[in-house]
């Protein structure tokens, strides 16, 4: 068995895909560089990310599967699911073997089906982030949100928040993966914070604008009073707002 390790980027993954066809590797498996150390009994070939190769794979896929197909590949990739790379590779191979066909509509193929499930999960997480992210106004005028998403969806929500919040600075920080996106009223950029700042942002109350707590309390008040007690249905509530998201939600805070 041949094992290709790549740098965990989408471009790296596409480069690996290109090289499998280029060098006609048989019985091959793709793994992220972070997992490559764990491989004991096989030779690991390190793929050097190459934009030209990656672009060619992308163009080929887009031609056959359309923008929608490429979106699905990206989403499945960001799921960070164990073995996502190999599921994706098999589906890509299936596409290449059936050129001209939109194989992503063939749900009877197990890899296509698996991808469509991953796409759905990642899409749902993206949607939940757009819904459940709560900004808190910091003393220096930045609206700040902490997130810990199940999948690596931060980059997928940037456009949504950029369109929406153009006249306020904001920072959304993924504490699980240690990076964030900052908008400075002009552009967005990916940022990583020093450990001490990260800690401060996670733990300290003194960082907030004076009126922040009042607005949060007003929201909690609203949340309580818009509820109809006669219709109470916690099961349904939890189904829509699973407990693992409560930590995001201002309305679940206890003041």
């Amino acid at each position: 068995m041949t094992i290709l390790s790549y740098d965990n980027t989408l471009e790296g993954f596409f480069t690996a895909v290109f090289e499998i066809f280029e060098y006609k590797y048989q019985d091959v498996s793709i793994i992220g560089a972070d997992k490559a150390q764990n491989v004991l009994f096989a030779e690991v070939i390190t793929v050097i990310t190459n934009d030209e190769k990656s672009d060619r794979v992308l163009a080929r896929l887009e031609k056959q599967l359309g923008k929608e197909g490429v979106r699905q590949i990206l989403y499945a990739f960001l799921s960070e699911t164990e073995d996502a790379e190999n599921i994706l590779f098999r589906a890509i191979k299936y596409a290449v073997d059936n050129s001209g066909k939109n194989v992503f509509a063939d749900f009877s193929n197990p890899d296509v089906l698996k991808i469509s499930k991953l796409v759905k999960s990642v899409g749902r997480e993206k949607h939940r982030m757009e819904a459940f992210i709560r900004f808190e106004l910091l003393k220096d005028g930045i609206y700040f949100a902490k997130i810990y998403p199940d999948f690596n969806v931060l980059t997928l929500v940037v456009r949504h928040f950029k369109n929406r919040y153009q006249d306020q600075k904001w920072l959304i920080y993924d504490f699980k993966r240690g990076y964030g996106v900052y908008y400075d009223l002009e552009n967005t950029e990916i940022v990583t914070l020093d450990a001490d700042v990260e800690k401060k942002l996670q733990d300290e109350d003194g960082i907030y604008d004076d009126k922040e707590i009042n607005y949060q309390k007003l929201w909690v008040e609203y949340f309580d009073h818009t509820n109809i007690k006669e219709r109470k249905n916690m099961k349904l509530h939890v189904q829509h707002v699973p407990k693992r998201y409560w930590k995001y939600l201002t309305e679940k805070k206890i003041f």
């Binding site: 509509a105 063939d106 749900f107 009877s108 089906l113 757009e130 819904a131 459940f132 992210i133 900004f135 808190e136 106004l137 910091l138 003393k139 220096d140 005028g141 609206y143 949100a145 949504h160 369109n163 929406r164 919040y165 153009q166 006249d167 306020q168 900052y182 400075d184 950029e189 940022v191 914070l193 020093d194 001490d196 700042v197 401060k200 960082i207 604008d209 009126k211 607005y215 309390k217 007003l218 929201w219 008040e221 609203y222 949340f223 009073h225 818009t226 509820n227 109809i228 007690k229 006669e230 219709r231 109470k232 249905n233 349904l236 509530h237 189904q239 829509h240 939600l249 201002t250 309305e251």
Partner: protein, 448 residues
């Protein structure tokens, strides 16, 4: 740029210009409690169809689909800040907490307070926008003018592009309705009581005519603005998310057939985007109404939503869903299943070849699954397992379809006790009619 954050000067600067006058927290809090409480019986939460772009570096946009930012403990979507401007009201509608004869605390927001709450909540990603309704104080136009003023201020002074839903006040003048349409995404006029006779009984001061006039005006304006837009691109939007209404279910003795016919009528003649059904929550000890403490008819409400979907997305007609001699929806099974059980001669449907219209009529197959079936069957002869993976509830569908592999359940299609067999098989699903309530209030997830 980010060095500045890393440098720990982070917390020392206070550069942000304060946009808002300090609002008096305690006073606003008290008003919010009263006026959110009074507004909660309006079940509409939709923020879809706005499609307003944030083109000029302002605040907010409204996407075509809308977002539920949270859910109340009763499981309803919270998308908008839904409040009354005031709960002072000159009318005495028996089914309404705000009625003049009710001994409750009254309050009124100022225009600025509503604007500030909306902006501050929106900036924190709590809401998609504002749903502003009101008790009627002084008269219709006086009230409507205040509502319009809030919307206008948000749009023109604060460059707010989030969603705005305004309640149309019965009898409001055309001029105010036109202004309302220019600033709001959606306008709604709640019929509340589906028949004129019921309304006369419970709200003697009101008539459907007062409601229909502004609705009709808005419908026509929407059409005019749409036509103009085709010719002149810069024509402003007019209520781009359209109009909706709400009917209360179970306050008066209307049948479900009457209710869905009213809905059908308003969908067709007023181009309504949505009709909402709100199970009556007892708010008064009035001999004309169900007593305090009686059950909210949640299952019935749920069935009405399902019937509504069947009319809007599945090609069913009102008189197919219910018949004159059987005018109430079956509470045990959903209305599509109920139709199938009355029409077993139309089944089985051949999954591999049947037209979309028939696939849509199979119990357990949703709109999205139906489309997926149409796509997937070009590649393969579909089996029960395939369509299950696609998302079909095969435990219901299997009694009504022919698939590529053997389907033993079909043997029961002609059984006299088919309904019992299905009920037994799917008991757990049916016992919780709210398992898909989200879908029922929110078009997009329903179509998933």
């Amino acid at each position: 740029m980010f060095d500045y954050l890393g440098n720990n000067t982070f917390l020392s600067l206070n550069l942000y210009p304060l946009n808002f006058k300090n609002l008096n927290y305690e006073r606003v809090k008290e008003k919010l409690e009263i006026l959110a409480d009074a507004a909660k019986y309006d079940v509409s939460c939709s923020s879809s169809g706005g499609n307003r772009k944030n083109a000029s570096k302002g605040l907010g946009d409204s996407s075509a689909t809308g977002i539920c930012h949270t859910y109340t403990e009763d499981g309803r979507c919270v998308s908008l800040l839904k409040i009354l401007l005031t709960n002072f009201c000159i009318y005495d509608c028996a089914y309404c907490v705000t009625r003049i004869s009710n001994d409750i605390q009254r309050a009124a927001f100022t225009v600025d307070e509503v604007v500030d709450l909306t902006m501050s909540f929106y900036r924190r990603n709590y809401i998609e926008g504002l749903f502003l309704s009101s008790g009627i104080f002084k008269n219709a136009d006086y009230t409507m003018e205040r509502l319009v003023r809030v919307a206008k201020k948000l749009r023109l002074e604060h460059n707010f592009n989030g969603y705005i839903h305004l309640k149309s006040i019965p009898d409001a003048s055309d001029e105010l309705m036109r202004e309302a349409g220019l600033y709001a995404d959606r306008l709604s006029m709640n019929l509340e009581i589906p028949t004129e006779s019921g309304l006369k009984l419970l709200a003697p001061d009101k008539s459907h005519q007062q409601m229909i006039k502004p609705m009709d005006f808005v419908k026509n304006e929407i059409l005019i603005y749409k036509d103009e837009k085709k010719i002149i691109k810069s024509t402003p939007k007019f209520a781009p998310a359209g109009q909706s209404t709400q009917v209360i279910v179970g306050a008066t003795p209307e049948t479900d057939l009457q209710i869905i016919k009213v809905a059908d009528h308003f969908y067709k003649n007023f181009n309504l985007k949505r009709v909402y059904y709100s199970g009556y929550v007892p708010v008064s000890n009035d001999a004309r109404l169900p007593a305090l403490g009686s059950q909210v008819p949640l299952v019935r409400e749920n069935r009405l939503y399902q019937a509504d979907w069947l009319m809007r997305f599945y090609g069913f007609k009102a008189n197919e869903i219910l018949e004159q001699n059987n005018p109430f929806l079956d509470l045990e099974v959903d209305p599509k299943m109920s139709w199938a059980l009355r029409n077993v001669d139309k089944f089985p449907v051949m999954i591999q070849t049947a037209p979309l219209e028939m696939i849509l009529r199979v119990p357990g197959i949703g709109v999205k699954s139906a489309y997926k079936i149409i796509q997937a069957r070009r590649f393969k002869n579909l089996t029960l397992e395939h369509i299950k993976k696609i998302g079909v509830s095969t435990n219901r569908a299997k009694y009504f379809i022919t698939v590529a592999n053997a389907n033993r359940s079909l043997d029961f299609l002609d059984a006299v006790n088919l309904k019992d067999i299905i009920l037994k098989d799917t008991r757990s699903k049916f016992e919780n009619p709210f398992s898909n309530q989200l879908s029922l209030l929110n078009d997009d997830s329903f179509l998933r």
